[in-house]
Subunit: 476 residues, 2 copies
């Protein structure tokens, strides 16, 4: 712990690097940086530093390393796992990347864009679109979250099935190491087999191995047309069969394959009366698939792909009913049913979220078993099940029923988590598909990783950040 | 160095693990394992050990670690960079993975296959095909090379544009660590954000961080039809323009986009008189593009995609002439023009290979400058330029002209490499796109990596293999 004199010296040094206006030390100025946006984690910081470029980031890190003061890197501060919130000691520095928001360049021939870490995801999407190109990463927080945070957590979203997650979309990084040196690998190459894969090590490390300051991102031609369908399915197993059938028919033109239970749709309709389903609800329809194809050819081709997919699906009973969007407005209406689930659930009260991944073959068996186990212990529980089925990623959320007390549910949170995660583990799954570990799942993960894996992770951390100054208390 | 008694003790311990018939110690038995297949590297080994399963691999590694004897892992022994050949000390153990050749399982719903490291690439392709599925990794050595070697070198090949390299096709690994422990991560998940990306660290590490013993590989539906075209282009720049145009028209149905110079075609025709080009050769045609689309729909659709691509391309002069294969036999004939280049070149004598990658926007400027620089210094030089244009990966090979002495060329090898690689570096490229570093480029790479990158790589090696027992002398 720094004594007051050393703390003052450190702050003076930091102010010299970033300018006094970019060093925040008053509690009121720091408040927004010290809590996560869900209001779940509240920390304290010695100061918030807002460097304006990579050299300043490096100088800040060197200064902190010399003083042996820990750094919490922060982008848009939208972590769902407390990954960007400092601890309660008041001894950590928050390093905000928000002033690094230049798009340094766009290479239309190489289909790449070079963005600084503090660019919002939306700013990157817009820069690509202005050049007539597509940056396909897309997720709910895109107006606020930053590309540095997306890469540090290997963000997912709704187009992973076709374009991959943040990791797959990144061709190169610039990183400030825990020693305050700058590693630059921004060539934008699609192939480069010259040593260990440092890029993928920093991606997903949640700022515990270094600070991502810029990235080369892969762009794609914009599709000429989308074809969007909503399919009512009898159960999750039928949805999985429909997925395979659709992949066979559409291959990589299939960009989205989202699932939500019939209960999710009811919730959305109740909470958002303007949201209407194009399909009549029947007891046989237990869930829905929102599927979308992207055609490089034409709207007619997109429609034709859907027809060739849906007709045999309905004939075989993998789908019970289907509707195809015939306009962009209708497409948005279909999407709204999926996109409003989280908010609809939030409106009826607190819930317990599980962001899990499973082998696709294990999805239906897991859900059957987990539903039964939870309902046996908590008969009044509400199960809000939806997610990126094509990636094997479910948001398996638990909410109280109208007759169940919310506090009763939250009191059971640890028990419910244990039950769900143990079954996830038994079905060869992961307890964090796309949100990372942060501080939320840092302890929990130890139950599910082998000791050899934990040892390997520690060896890497020790090798790159021996003083444990980069975002300590996260991931490991 | 082991004294003779210790060496005898070690061999006895190893024989106890794998059985005497799987411990080779006679020079004649070891000869084939001690040289690379191009005959470029010749080493010596204390013994060749052929474990039969992962537990035996782990026991061998523990035994060697205890004796502080280094291990050279070897798969199909097809490295182009001496990555699997021991040094000349006779003090290293070759650990052959060839007996680990089970396909442990195939999950058709999860579209994954679990293969042991010693399976040949072809065996994996066949196992997928038998289930009506596709494992798309494909390269010249596929009958001999093993999946463990493919992953350890992050192999590329002709379908990277659509399906990615070996790294992208792997969803999980089983690895024996330098300490002889088994890290197993074979769940087959498409999303898993729970800590550092160990998988991608072991992939491409060329056996210097541990030994890959099994892998979960991603499978795909088989395309219903291919559409294959050969296009004559005026120059490399036009080929790049054609690439973008084709990506816009075909998106991810484009699976192959290969380039070769007109000189390559002449070479193939001369050395393989049965190979004929479907296009009349003209002075204006300076190169060729072999492009292939894979349609999930029908042969008619594949043909239609090609038509919509080629007509505007010819109108705009990005292509000067084109031919579309109308049968599988014709398709194979087109492919033979591309696939026989390496062998045709080998037939006319020794050559200097450069497996390089560049940003796609830098391909034409690089080739223009490098050709000019080489021809200025060596007017009689032959330039054999071909490769995976869609990935920015060229095989930029230099051969003597008929009037130039082969030994003259080889005497200039170091100078030529320096000239080519310095220009690659200046154009933001990589000196190894898909072959790795092995021992061939281990020293050369130090000229082109920053000291901070070399330090990071060493820190990882030190953290995971502090005794430097895993394939020493390779990569680093």
């Amino acid at each position: 712990m720094l004594n007051p004199a050393a703390a003052t010296t450190l702050k003076e040094s930091l102010a010299q690097i970033v300018g006094t206006s970019n060093l925040l030390t008053a509690a009121s100025d720091m408040a927004g940086y010290c809590r996560d946006w869900r209001g779940r984690y509240h920390g304290k910081a010695l100061a918030v530093v807002r460097p304006g470029n990579t050299d300043e980031v490096a100088a800040v890190v060197r200064t902190c390393a010399q003083a042996q003061v820990a750094i919490v890197p922060q982008g848009g501060n939208t972590s769902l796992c407390g990954g960007a919130t400092p601890d309660g000691s008041g001894q950590q520095i928050i390093l905000s990347l928000q002033r690094l928001r230049n798009i340094r360049g766009l290479d239309p021939q190489n289909l790449t864009l070079l963005a600084e870490a503090g660019c919002t995801l939306q700013a990157v999407q817009h820069a690509a679109a202005e050049a007539g190109l597509l940056f396909p990463l897309s997720l709910a927080a895109e107006g606020t979250c930053t590309i540095g945070g997306n890469l540090s957590t290997n963000a997912g979203g709704t187009a992973v099935l076709r374009y991959g997650n943040a990791r797959s979309l990144c061709l190169g990084l610039e990183v400030v190491t825990p020693q305050g040196e700058i590693w630059s690998s921004l060539k934008g190459l699609r192939k480069d087999n010259t040593g260990y894969d440092l890029r993928n090590l920093f991606i997903g490390a949640e700022g515990t191995l270094g600070i991502i300051t810029a990235a080369v991102l892969q762009l794609f031609p914009q599709p000429r047309a989308y074809g969007t369908a909503l399919v009512g399915v009898p159960d999750l197993e039928a949805a999985v069969t429909l997925l395979h059938h659709t992949q066979r028919q559409c291959a990589s033109t299939l960009t989205t394959f989202e699932f939500f239970s019939a209960h999710c749709l009811q919730l959305v309709r109740q909470q958002f009366p303007n949201c209407r389903s194009p399909l009549p609800e029947t007891p046989a329809i237990q869930g829905y698939v929102l599927l979308e194809v992207s055609s490089p050819e034409s709207a007619a081709h997109a429609q034709q792909l859907l027809e060739h997919t849906l007709l045999p699906a309905l004939e075989n009973g993998w789908g019970l009913d289907s509707a195809v969007a015939t306009s962009e407005i209708q497409r948005q209406q279909f999407w709204a049913l999926r996109e409003n689930i989280s908010e609809a659930q939030a409106k009826i009260g607190k819930n317990i979220k599980h962001d899990i991944a499973l082998p696709i073959s294990q999805l239906a068996p897991f859900v059957d078993r987990c539903n039964a186990a939870l309902q046996a212990d908590y008969p009044e529980i509400g199960l809000v099940i939806f997610g990126h089925l094509g990636d094997g990623n479910l948001h398996y959320n638990v909410s109280p029923s109208p007759t169940m007390d919310e506090s009763m549910l939250l009191a059971a949170q640890a028990t419910i988590n244990r039950l769900v995660y143990d079954l996830v583990d038994e079905h060869q799954g992961s307890i964090s598909a796309e949100h990372g570990l942060g501080q939320l799942k840092r302890e929990e993960i130890k139950r599910y990783k082998s000791s050899i894996e934990l040892t390997l992770q520690q060896a890497i951390k020790q090798g790159l950040d021996p003083l444990n100054l980069m975002n300590p208390g996260k991931v490991l």
